[in-house]
């Protein structure tokens, strides 16, 4: 027992000593994107630049909350998030350092913060995943609104607590207004549309025949097909420009509290370079956002996706309202 206590004391000291080292050639990254997708990029970046990157992986919304609690005491240099709402939350709190014009100009304006707090690095389209053995693509509507009709009752799954669904709701508020959005959400609730915890469970439910269709991001299905080519799910892109056809970026920003902003910008610039953009296209099935890099062969080109004209920086301030509406409709 005495030995145990000595061991604990020793380990506690080591643990305390192992906090971040602030060498100029190292970066701390908060990544809301998963280790499976991001780590290969980090490894390559470290090899190319010699900058050492320590990553903290967690959910995008959780990391945004953590950054808000940390304020200017954050150990993070860069926040790399899955959705504009999480990035916007941090931007609203004034925790980002505006990015250089050089970086911002690499990506079309509609994929970045209007004040330059963060930049989009890859795009993900909202789509309908449907079971191709039960539904014919020609029977699917041209936007999300008819899913509240009786014809679709109980057939279209949603993930009301998921970040990308909430971002979609916030976008719908911008496109259609608060009243129409609430009405649509209530219609979905009245139509008994099945609710899941996230995109992956919906894709899985469609592929296993549990539900016929669902509102998700486009790339989940492609990853499932990579593991098992016999899956029955297919992606459907709405032909009409509504919130349901929005391409939402994953993106990154530099924290104002960073003591190594130069390296932080180098990293973000690198994410917009050839290796990373090609990686997003080939490995994660996302849309590269820097013009000149083509999307994966299995995807329609990004230009062919009709997108509503909205400012993504306006999504985060609407996040709480979106959650309120979802709750008010009885979907939360």
């Amino acid at each position: 027992m005495k030995r145990l206590i000595v061991l604990v004391a020793a380990l506690a000291i080591i643990g305390t000593a192992c906090t971040s080292d602030d060498g100029s050639n190292s970066l701390t990254l908060y990544s809301g994107r998963s280790e499976d997708l991001v780590q290969p990029l980090i490894d390559q970046f470290e090899e190319e630049t010699g900058i050492e990157v320590t990553v903290k992986y967690a959910g995008s919304a959780d990391l945004a909350a953590t950054l808000n609690e940390e304020g200017d005491a954050s150990p993070a240099d860069v926040f790399f998030a899955q959705d504009p709402a999480s990035l916007g939350t941090v931007a609203l709190a004034g925790l980002f350092e505006p990015l250089s014009e050089e970086i911002l100009s690499m990506v079309p304006d509609r994929f970045s913060d209007s004040d330059g707090a963060w930049v989009g690095t890859s795009g993900r389209a909202r789509v309908v995943i449907y079971d191709s053995t039960k539904i014919d693509a020609s029977d699917l509507p041209s936007n999300e609104n008819p899913f509240v009709d009786e014809e679709w009752a109980g057939r279209v799954a949603i993930a009301p607590t998921n970040g990308s669904f909430l971002s979609f709701v916030a976008a719908k508020i911008l496109v259609d207004g608060e009243d129409a959005t609430l009405e649509w959400l209530e219609g979905m609730a009245a139509n008994d549309q099945p609710r899941y915890s996230g995109n992956s469970p919906i894709v899985e439910a469609v592929n296993s025949g549990e539900v016929e269709a669902g509102l998700v991001n486009h790339y989940y299905l492609l990853r499932a097909l990579a593991e098992n080519p016999n899956e029955v799910g297919r992606n459907y892109f709405f032909p009409e420009a509504t919130a349901g056809s929005l391409v939402m970026p994953a993106g990154a920003g530099v924290l104002a509290s960073s003591d190594n902003k130069e390296a932080a910008e180098t990293y973000i610039e690198w994410l917009l370079g050839e290796f990373a953009q090609t990686y997003f296209a080939e490995e994660t099935f996302e849309y590269p956002l820097v013009p000149g890099y083509p999307a994966n062969d299995v995807l329609p080109p990004i230009e062919s996706i009709p997108t509503p004209d909205i400012d993504l920086s306006e999504l985060a301030p609407l996040l709480d309202t979106a959650t309120d509406l979802v709750a008010q409709a009885g979907l939360l």
Binding site: L4, V8, V55, D62, A73, T161, A226
Partner: protein, 545 residues
């Protein structure tokens, strides 16, 4: 021997909290300050952190109050209660049944069953849920293998099954340990007086097991209350799920904080209910005069019990491991790269081992205080420790982030804080386990040591500690296993670069990378087999000691 107990049971005017043991001993030794210091050093800061988070209710926005007072909240309370009650009842039936048949009958292959039926404890509840979902339904594993379409399971039923499997091992493990301490001479006497075996079980064995079953049931109930993974995948709306939704869907933290406060009140109701129905006092049998003779099962009884155990092992252990193995194989067949996440293996072992050691170290003063110096204050301490176990981990994580960033900035996101939080939030498990060991020891043993000139500290070190050793180690093993499964606190509080198998499993499954998710989950299960083996065979040791 049972004087302490009957003194209370037949004395209705004894107010709650005025303990039977204390009465029968006639005096209450005042706790030395260092015991309090030891007991509070770990949980004190965490309670402060959560307290200061809760103080933010005074800044709560109108939207937060609206959320709280919406009609939905009542539905959440009701669903959380219903789920907790059914899961706890199921866990008790499965746990006590399993413990009795393996400890008291001559059923074959006991040691093997003992380990196998404890195994669901090590499978994270979200992995169990994921496996159940993918095994059932039209295209599920069961349909693939047998051609019979097993209806898909979700919602209440799905959550109930997944969480019952996750939690019955608590009841099973604590009850098995207690069964070996129950002196069989009482049962023999009852049998000799003509009572049937069922009657003996009901009127002699069960009442003696009551504290152990209660302790296991309380852990099962609070675990269910705090669970997010299973209910979220099963799409059953509980309080914890609502709290997570509020955290992730809003910039404003106050609705989630308000809901967390209501959840902790709910936990308080459960803890108090268990407390009040618990038989006060306890039966001291430092070691049974002999081990119990095993009941000879009839041929039909043997087949029935074996079938029951086999079904439990099939559903809780074999199916999950088979599905996980199936995912790995399917991925390999489709040329998915097979990766063993070594840094996560190291992270898991480091985090869980340290958490178990720290929890055990702080359990010692806590348990001595709670059992030997019982007072109103120790009661508050014990209830607080259990309340911590019931909180959604995201609430704990956010509270600790805010607290350490403000007050303990140098150690923010250090391994030390992560381990301390693990140990503090899971302390209820090791306290439960060690407490039942110490409670079974007659306090006159301590008095004897004191009267022989030993100081309090020496008595603790030389007498109490060795006597509760098995319970303490078992508690440490429980903390080890639960820490391995932990997710939200690990994600937010770990040092950058630190990863665990639970994190890898969750992240990969979220990206639909089943091969990787299953690989990490299988390593996690394999790693937990050793502590579970230890947990389920300790009753032999405790009889031997």
């Amino acid at each position: 021997m049972t004087q302490a107990r009957s003194a209370v049971e037949f004395d209705p005017v004894v107010p709650h909290g005025d303990n039977g043991i204390v009465r029968s001993r006639g005096r209450q030794a005042k706790a030395p300050w260092w015991l309090w210091l030891g007991a509070l050093a770990l949980v004190g800061p965490l309670l402060l952190a959560i307290g200061s988070l809760f103080l933010r209710v005074f800044d709560a926005t109108p939207a937060a109050w609206d959320t709280l007072f919406s009609t939905r909240t009542l539905g959440l309370v009701w669903r959380s209660f219903a789920l907790t009650a059914t899961v706890t009842a199921t866990a008790c039936v499965l746990g006590v049944g399993g413990a009795w048949v393996l400890a008291r009958t001559d059923i074959g292959f006991r040691r093997g069953w003992g380990v196998l039926i404890a195994l669901p404890l090590v499978i994270p509840s979200y992995v169990l849920a994921m496996v159940i979902i993918s095994a059932t339904g039209a295209t599920g594993l069961i349909a693939d293998l047998t051609g019979y379409t097993f209806p898909s399971i979700s919602g209440f039923v799905g959550s109930w099954i997944a969480l019952s499997l996750s939690t019955y091992p608590y009841v099973y493990l604590i009850t098995s340990a207690a069964l070996t301490r129950v002196d069989p001479t009482l049962e023999d006497a009852a049998r000799g007086l003509g009572a049937t075996r069922t009657r003996v079980f009901r009127t002699v064995v069960l009442p003696q097991l009551r504290p152990a079953i209660g302790a296991g049931a309380l852990l099962a109930a609070l675990y269910t209350l705090s669970d997010f993974g299973a209910v979220s995948l099963m799409r059953f709306d509980t309080f914890t799920r609502a709290i997570y939704a509020q955290y992730s869907g809003r910039i404003d933290r106050s609705p989630a904080i308000l809901l967390s406060i209501v959840l902790i009140l709910l936990a308080a109701v459960i803890i108090t209910a268990e407390w009040r129905t618990r038989g006060r006092g306890s039966i001291f049998t430092s070691s049974p005069s002999r081990s119990a003779s095993r009941v000879r099962l009839s041929r039909a009884g043997r087949s029935l019990w074996t079938a029951g155990l086999a079904a439990l092992v099939a559903v809780g252990t074999v199916v999950p491991i088979a599905v996980l193995g199936g995912w790995v194989l399917q991925g390999l067949a489709n040329d998915v790269e097979f990766v063993i996440p070594w840094n996560a293996v190291v992270g898991s072992i480091t985090g869980a081992t340290l958490a178990a050691i720290v929890a055990m170290a702080f359990t010692i003063p806590t348990v001595v205080l709670i059992v030997r110096h019982q007072s109103k204050r120790t009661e508050v301490l014990e209830k607080s420790i259990f309340a911590l176990f019931s909180l959604p981990h995201i609430t704990i994580a956010i509270a600790v982030v805010a607290f350490t960033v403000t007050w303990l900035r140098p150690v923010y996101q250090s391994l030390g804080v992560l381990v301390a939080v693990y140990a503090a939030m899971f302390l209820a498990q090791s306290v439960s386990s060690a407490k039942s060991s110490l409670m079974a020891i007659d306090p006159t043993v301590d008095d004897a040591s004191r009267s022989l000139g030993r100081g309090r500290f020496q008595t603790l070190w030389r007498v109490q500690l060795p006597l509760m050793r098995t319970g303490l180690l078992a508690g440490g093993a429980l903390v080890f296993v639960t820490t391995l499964k932990e997710l939200p606190v690990t994600l937010l509080l770990s040092p950058p670069g630190f990863s665990t198998l639970a994190v890898r499993t969750w992240a990969a499954a979220d990206e639909l990378l089943y091969t990787r998710a299953a690989t990490a989950a299988l390593i996690l299960v394999a790693m937990s087999v050793i502590p579970v083996y230890f947990l389920s065979i300790r009753r032999r040791e405790s009889v031997g000691s």
